[in-house]
């Protein structure tokens, strides 16, 4: 059973796999949706504009609940992440290989989140405050917190990769098994594939993508807002 994505063509030394092509198609879809939702905007929205406003308001509410009102400028990145990851992982519904079943997709996003967490922490607390936070409450926990921070992007990327890849493997095995079962009964059309995979399709291609994208984004938000200096209460 082939485990990695198929290589469609090569440019020089670089393989263009189906992951790259599907990722670009998903980005194009999101851009087209955004363009359609924002032209000829009216005061009372309808059609694409209403859908766009629903999506944006949901994401902004989520960011405000988790990070507080002053951090709303993170919302575009968080919204892009959650939409792209959710849409990219549910390509199994169309019998395409999900984009996030490839470690080359999830690890760069996890590294970007990791850089964002630490850059904002240093920018908010200053370099000295950042290092002091790592060594609180006692100085000997410094190696442990450093290791903990270095481990964060690895788990962030591996979590969504492992879950979606497990779904791909289970669905491939299931469809292959149903096909050979139908062939053993002597029919050329694999009619066992009609209703039986439906509950697994719902779980692996609709519930898991949304849950994993939400977890990815929630962890990024929590770590970012924890790293920044807390708001001082004016007495």
């Amino acid at each position: 059973m082939q485990l990695g994505p198929r290589i469609i063509f090569k440019i020089g030394n670089v393989d263009i796999t189906e992951t790259v092509i599907f990722g670009l198609i998903i980005s194009l879809l999101l851009i087209v949706f955004a363009i359609l939702a924002t032209r000829k905007m009216e005061k009372v929205p309808k059609g694409f504009q209403a859908a766009g406003e629903l999506v944006v308001s949901t994401i902004y509410n989520m960011v405000e609940d988790t990070m507080g009102k002053r951090n709303l400028n993170f919302a575009p990145y968080i919204g892009t992440l959650v939409l792209w990851l959710g849409l990219g992982s549910s390509l199994g519904l169309l019998d395409l290989r999900p984009v996030t079943a490839d470690l080359n997709t999830t690890m760069p996003l996890a590294i970007i989140s990791f850089i964002m967490v630490h850059y904002n922490s240093i920018r908010s607390r200053g370099l000295k405050g950042y290092l002091k936070e790592k060594a609180s409450p006692y100085a000997f926990v410094f190696p442990m917190t450093v290791l903990d921070d270095l481990f964060f992007p690895i788990t962030l990327g591996m979590r969504i990769f492992g879950n979606i890849l497990a779904g791909v493997i289970v669905m491939t095995l299931l469809y292959g098994g149903l096909e050979s079962l139908s062939a053993a009964l002597g029919s050329a059309v694999p009619f066992f594939q009609i209703f039986i995979p439906l509950p697994l399709n719902f779980f692996f291609d609709m519930f898991e993508p949304v849950l994993q994208a939400y977890i990815f984004v929630m962890l990024t938000m929590v770590f970012t807002s924890n790293g920044m200096k807390p708001e001082e209460e004016e007495g």
């Binding site: 979590r159 492992g162 849950l211 977890i215």
Partner: protein
């Protein structure tokens, strides 16, 4: 013990290792079951909090499952992308 070629031995040991690696899911099962039990108990005490408790339960499940995903990755590497055979 004759007639076991080295390649067959490596393949057999990889298969054994892949199976043994998934013993880690026992701990994951206990953790998630405990989490679900506490959610049900909380809902029984206060049925209005069901939505919040369900959301928190799902977050807990996804975070606990990460530990099992590492075992799954080792298993898959041994079975499909075996670096020794």
């Amino acid at each position: 013990m004759s007639q076991i070629t080295p390649e067959a031995f490596i393949k057999a040991m990889s298969a054994l290792g892949a199976g043994l690696a998934m013993i880690a899911m026992a701990g994951v099962g206990i953790g998630i079951g405990f989490n679900a039990g506490k959610t049900v108990e909380g809902t029984a005490r206060q049925p209005e909090a069901q939505g919040t408790l369900l959301k928190l339960m799902l977050v807990g499940v996804a975070l606990t499952e990460t530990a099992g995903i590492f075992a799954l990755i080792i298993s898959i590497i041994l079975l499909f992308a075996n670096p020794f055979a």
